[in-house]
Amino acid sequence: MPLSYFQWIENSGIGQAIRSSNWMFPVIEAFHLAGLSLIGGAVLILDMRLFDVGLRQMPVARLARAVQPFLNGSLGLMLTTGTLLFLSEAVKCYYSAAFWMKMVFLALAIIFTYTVQQRVALADQAPGPLLSKLVGVVSIILWAGVGIGGRWIAFQ
């Protein structure tokens, strides 16, 4: 994607409004971080269960269904606030390796969570221990990559 596209995004009305305020970016960032902890809880409690720790007595499918609305809701909050943050510093992101790393992890994490993990967790038959653990580990690694990448965007 060409740089000019990112420059255009950064100069958009919303991007400029956020950049010219000295509290808007921090406040959006704070919501982004609060959303991160919520999505972290939803992801972690399910991945731990897949790894056979935590809520072991609870069937995987029931737990997956229980955390689903919080996963969806916090992901929605993350994507909204994340997009706003991006709009205000698109050019910086363009040059940030951490940003691109985060986007790759984010895409993989979303795809994996809503296809593979969901299929395994919600299957009528409980997943075997090996598959279950594998799915849990991959999910944790992908989401941790998103979080670490995000934190490191600030350090360029």
Binding site: P26, L33, S37, G41, L44, V67, F70
Partner: protein, 191 residues
């Protein structure tokens, strides 16, 4: 008391490891990343418990099962979170000590701790009586909501420590100066 804490953080800022951490290119960032990740784990799991106490999720799971199975993991996250947070404070002691956001954050953590302790001593002692209720009694719902709100606000104020709106080395109102405990010395730019 106040002035001795002030000289303590000044002394801390001059210690070798504080300077090393402050000036290191990667260590500080690593510690900060660890802090954010463990906070995600601790506050995230804590939020799931709070939501159960509020009767908003996992209604068919006994509350005692969640506290027994999840709280030990929260404790692990809490220890790493506090350790990494302490290191972040140690790297920038004077400015952090005089940060209104840091002070607000510590006060709210105290309230969060108090809230958890009261819940543990009162409602949770009688958990057997309401363990299976999809929507726990009012006191437990209030404790869950208070915890969730406090931790979200703690994350907010933690994030705001990074911004210098209310720093002592900038012009501030008398109220902010009092809240931040600004002194002539802290008006100088210091870590």
């Amino acid at each position: 008391m106040i002035s001795s804490l002030d000289s303590f953080v000044r002394w801390l800022a001059d210690t070798r490891w504080s300077i090393a951490l402050h000036e290191s290119r990667y260590m500080y960032l690593v510690v900060e990343s660890v802090h954010v990740l463990t906070l995600t784990g601790f506050v995230g799991l804590s939020a799931m418990l709070d939501l159960r106490l509020m009767g908003l999720t996992m209604r068919d799971v006994p509350v005692s099962q969640i506290t027994r199975r999840i709280v030990p993991w929260m404790a692990v996250g809490f220890v790493v979170m506090v350790a990494s947070g302490s290191l972040l404070f140690y790297a920038i002691p004077v400015r952090s000590y005089h940060s209104v956001w840091f002070r607000l954050k510590m006060a709210m953590m105290l309230f969060a701790g108090l809230n958890a302790w009261i819940f543990h001593e009162k409602e949770h002692r009688r958990v057997a009586e309401w363990d299976l209720e999809p929507v726990p009694p009012r006191a437990a719902r209030v404790a869950g909501a208070a915890s969730l709100i406090l931790w979200i606000l703690i994350i907010f104020s933690g994030r705001f420590i990074a911004y210098n709106w209310f720093d002592c080395d900038r012009p501030q109102s008398a109220t902010i100066k009092a809240l931040a405990g600004c002194t002539d010395a802290s008006a100088q730019n210091s870590p």
